[in-house]
Symmetry: C2
Subunit: 500 residues, 2 copies
C-alpha cells in the first residue's frame, strides 16, 4: 500500500567513470551510504566484487562485503531492486505484494534485516474459518494445517498417516544437503506424485497433497522430486528448530504468519537505498569471462572488471548468461535442471474485507478454477479489503495467451465461488505473472525434478573459480523464501571475503 | 577417417555487404550453389528467413527454403557445420564419429539426404558375441536385444514380461504428440525408474532397463519421464512401420545397423558446402527481437533482418538466447524443462580389430567403470581397429573435473575389462565430451523429466509469431536421431514457406 516513487526505485545517481576504481571506505558502519558515483553509458568499472542481481540475496551480499571493506558493484537487469520481491502497482498509486510476501517463525535473517531497515510486521489476518472447495462443493474448516481440510471421514486417517510418514522422512534429510540423506537415491528416483499415490487412497488426501506442492512450489506434484519436497520441508526451520511440514504450510505458527507494514518490497527498497549508487539498474548481464586476473562481467551499458563475481540468481536464469570459458558440466547441466514454477498473484480490492464479517479468514483451497489458494491481503487497519489468489501451475498455463480481461474474469470467478457474490464487484484488480517475466522466468523458486539433486546438487553452491553462487535456491534453511535469500547473501559474502 | 580441411569446414567466402538483400534465384535446382557473397565484420544483412544453427535440421531447412526460392542466411555459433554430428580428430589427420553416428531401417530422411550427398553406408560390425559385464563378472551373449543379455535364470522371464508390457504401452503413444496418449497423465507422472522397479524384481532386468535409458538418452532412468521414454520408442519408426523398442536398441535391424563411409559428418559437411556462403560461422546468436516488420537476429559480428526466423537448436540451448519481447510462458518454461544428457564418446585405435579374432562384435554393456556401452568403430576395411565407448550419465559426471589423462586411463580400464589386455595399449585415443560443450550443453538429446510433456509438450513445435522451431527434439519420428533432425528441417521449411 506504499506509494513508491519511480525516483526511489531508480536510485539517484549513476556509476563511476570508465576505468575508475570503486573502493568502499574500509568497513563502514552498517547503514552507511557509499559515496555517490557518476558514469556515462557503456562505462568500464573496476571493483573487488561484482554482484549480479539486486534481489535480497545480492543486496545482502553487497551489504556484508561493503561492511568488510570491499569495493562492490551490483548489476541489476530491472529498473528496480527486489527481484522476486515486488510491490505490484494497483493502479491508484498504491501497491500490494505481487511476489514474496510473508514472514514466519525461525525466519531469523529476513527478520533481522527488516528490523535493521525499520520495516515492521503484523499478523496475517487469520480469524474465522477457511474455505475448502472440491468437486463443486464449498465447505468450511478450522484454520491451519492440511488435516483440518478433510471432511470427517476415513480420508482424515488416510492423510494423517501419509503426513506422519512424510514428516518422519523430512527429519532424515540433512538440511541444505539432501543428496546426503541415507535414502537420497530412493527419494530422488520418484516424483512426489508417485509417493503420494503409493501412500494414500482417498481422493481428499491426494488432492491436499497436490495442493501442498502447488501452493508451496507452484508446480504439479508430477514435476517435483520427492527428495526436493522433503528438503523443502526440512529447510523450514533454523539451527535450533528442525524444519517441519506444518511450519511450511501454516499461517499461525508457520511461514505465512506475518506480513510487512508497507509491503515486503520495503525491505529491498530500503536496503538498496542504503547501498546507494553501487547498484546499476537496467543492466542485464550478458556475459561473464574468467581470466587469470579475475572476471570481466559485461552488462548492457556497463562492463565491470573484478576479482570475484557473485551470481545471485536462480539457476535457470543464471543459465542465460554466456560464461567463457564454459562452466564445468556439473554446473552447466544443473542450470538446465532447476525449472521455475508457474505462478501469478491476482488481487481484487473491495471497500471492506467483507469475508471477515462472514466469519472467514480469506484463506481458501480449491480443486478447480483459476485460483487454487487465497489469502487476505488487506492493509493492517482493514481500511479496505484485498483478496489475493495464486494462479498456480496448470491453472496459470491455461491462461498463457489470455488477454488481461480474461485473466481478470477468471480470477473474479474463483473469488466469487469461494467467497460469495460480493467478490464479483471489486473496485480494482491487478495481477503479477512471473512465468512470462523475463528476469525471473517463473516463481516462486527453482525446483528439482527427479534425479537432479543427487547428481548435480552440490553444484548449487560450489564456486567455479572466481564465480560464486547465491540466491534462495542455494540456502539450507528456508530455501525458496526471503529468509533463504538473505541467508544465501550472508553465506556468499563470507565465502567471497575469505577468498579475496 | 576422412581428412577434413579447415578450409572446407569454414567455407570459402563471407556474406553480403551491410544492408544488402540476399535473394536466392527462384527455385534453383537441388544441388545448385548460391552465388558467393562478401561482407565485412559486423555486417547487417537482410533475408526472407534467418536460420539459427547449421546442424542437420538447420541445413535441411535452408536447403528446402532455398529450393522454394526464399533468401536464407544461416548463423552458426561454431566454426563448422553439423552440430551434434561431428568428426572427432584422432590426432593423426583422420577423424572418427564423435557425435551422432549410426543409421538404421525406417530412417528414410537421413538416408535420402545422405544418398543425395553421395555418402554411402556400410554395416556396423556385428559378427560374434557381445560382452556383458555385471557385478565384476564378464560373460558373453548372442547379439542384439536386451533379452540376450540376461543370464539363463528367471530374470529372463522377468525382463521379457516387463518389455512386453512396455512394448504394449509404446503402441498407445501418438507419435510426436505423446501428450495426447490416453494414459499420458499417468505415464508422465512417474520416472522410468519408478516404472521399471514396479514391473520387475530381478537385478538383471533392472540393470538392463537402466542400461536402456543410459545407452539411448545418456541419462539415469531416474531423470526420465516414463511418457518421454515410451514416445522415444514410438518414434523409432516411420509412417509405415510403427516404432518399437527393438528398432531403437538393436544393431541388426535397428538404429545402430549401419554407418556412413567417411563418417556421419560427411553429410552435413557436404550439404553445407552445397549451400555455400549463406552460412555464417563463428556467429553465435545472442538475441532475437520481434517487431511488426519481422525479426532482427543479432549474432557476434552480424545482424540479420528477416521476415521469419527458424531456431534449429535443442530447447535448453535455445533458452540461452535473449528474446524480446519475451516468449510466451509455455515456450519459455519448456526451455527450462528439457535438459540434455551427460555423455562423451571415447575411442581407442589399435593396429587391428583384435576382438574380432576373439569372436566378439566389439559391443558390450557394463554396470561399472567409466564406459557402459561400446561399439566397433573401425573403418569399413578393418585396416585398423577402433573401439568406441560411451561415458554416460553418472560415469560422465564423475569425470567432470578430470584432466584428459584421467579420462583416458578410465576409458582404457573399461576397454581392458571388457575386451582383455590387448585393449590396454592403443596407438591413439581421443574423446569428445558433449556435456561441457557450450553450444550443445550435453547430448545426445533433450529429455523431458516427469510432468513436462503433458504441460509444455505442444510448445516444442508451435511457432511464436515469426519464430519457428526445429531440431531433432521437435520431430515425431526418430526424435533424438539424425533422421529426426532432417525431418524437423523439412517440416519447418514447409511451415515457414507457407507462412511467408
Amino acid at each position: 500500500m506504499t506509494r513508491v516513487s519511480r525516483r526511489r526505485l531508480l536510485g539517484t545517481g549513476a556509476l563511476t567513470a570508465a576505468g575508475a576504481v570503486v573502493t568502499a571506505a574500509a568497513a563502514p558502519p552498517a547503514g552507511a551510504r557509499t559515496a555517490p558515483l557518476a558514469a556515462p553509458l557503456d562505462a568500464s568499472l573496476t571493483a573487488d566484487v561484482v554482484i549480479v542481481g539486486a534481489g535480497l540475496s545480492g543486496l545482502t551480499a553487497a551489504r556484508d562485503l561493503v561492511a568488510a571493506g570491499r569495493s562492490v558493484i551490483v548489476l541489476e537487469a530491472r529498473e528496480r531492486p527486489g527481484g522476486r520481491v515486488y510491490g505490484m502497482p494497483l493502479g491508484d498509486g498504491t501497491t500490494n505484494e505481487g511476489g514474496a510476501e510473508f514472514i514466519g517463525p525461525t525466519q531469523d535473517r529476513i527478520a533481522a534485516l527488516a528490523k535493521d531497515m525499520g520495516v515492521d510486521t503484523y499478523a496475517t489476518y487469520n480469524e474465522g474459518k477457511n474455505v475448502y472447495y472440491r468437486d463443486g462443493k464449498r465447505s468450511l474448516y478450522a484454520t491451519d494445517g492440511l488435516l483440518g481440510a478433510v471432511p470427517p471421514d476415513w480420508g482424515v486417517v488416510d492423510l494423517e498417516l501419509a503426513l506422519l510418514k512424510l514428516g518422519g522422512m523430512v527429519q532424515q534429510v540433512p538440511v541444505g544437503e539432501p543428496w546426503k540423506a541415507a535414502k537420497a537415491e530412493e527419494w530422488d528416483a520418484q516424483t512426489f506424485h508417485t509417493w503420494s499415490r503409493s501412500n494414500s487412497l482417498s481422493g481428499g488426501a491426494r488432492f491436499l497433497m497436490d495442493a501442498f506442492a502447488s501452493s508451496t512450489l507452484s508446480m504439479r506434484s508430477q514435476e517435483v522430486s520427492l527428495l526436493y519436497l522433503l528438503n523443502y520441508a526440512a529447510s523450514a526451520g533454523n539451527e535450533a528448530n528442525p524444519g517441519t511440514i506444518d511450519r511450511l504450510i501454516n499461517t499461525k505458527g508457520g511461514a505465512q504468519e506475518s506480513r510487512f507494514v508497507g509491503g515486503s518490497q520495503e525491505v529491498p527498497i530500503r536496503l538498496a537505498a542504503r547501498l546507494g549508487d553501487i547498484i546499476r539498474y537496467n543492466a542485464p548481464v550478458r556475459s561473464i569471462a574468467t581470466g587469470s586476473g579475475g572476471v570481466t562481467v559485461t552488462a548492457d551499458g556497463v562492463t565491470v572488471s573484478a576479482k570475484r563475481v557473485v551470481v545471485a540468481m536462480s539457476p535457470a536464469i543464471a543459465g542465460k548468461i554466456d560464461f567463457s570459458p564454459g562452466l564445468p558440466a556439473s554446473r552447466a547441466q544443473l542450470m538446465q535442471r532447476y525449472p521455475m514454477g508457474s505462478v501469478a498473484k491476482f488481487v481484487a480490492v473491495y471497500d471492506t474485507p467483507f469475508w471477515r464479517a462472514d466469519g472467514l479468514t480469506g484463506q481458501a483451497v480449491a480443486d478447480s478454477g483459476a485460483i487454487d489458494a487465497t489469502f487476505d491481503n488487506s492493509p493492517p487497519d482493514g481500511s479496505r479489503g484485498i483478496l489475493m489468489g495464486f494462479m498456480n501451475q496448470a491453472n496459470m498455463r491455461k491462461l498463457d495467451a489470455a488477454p488481461s480481461a480474461e485473466v481478470r474474469a477468471a480470477g473474479l470467478d474463483s473469488f466469487t465461488k469461494l467467497f460469495g457474490d460480493k467478490a464479483a464487484n471489486p473496485t480494482l484488480t491487478a495481477f503479477q505473472r512471473w512465468d512470462n517475466e523475463t528476469w525471473s522466468g517463473g516463481g516462486p523458486v527453482g525446483v528439482a525434478p527427479p534425479g537432479a539433486l543427487t547428481a548435480f546438487g552440490p553444484a548449487l553452491r560450489e564456486p567455479c573459480g572466481p564465480i560464486h553462487w547465491a540466491g534462495t535456491e542455494t540456502s539450507g534453511y528456508w530455501t525458496g523464501y526471503m529468509d533463504g535469500a538473505v541467508r544465501s547473501g550472508e553465506r556468499v559474502a563470507k565465502e567471497v571475503d575469505a577468498a579475496l
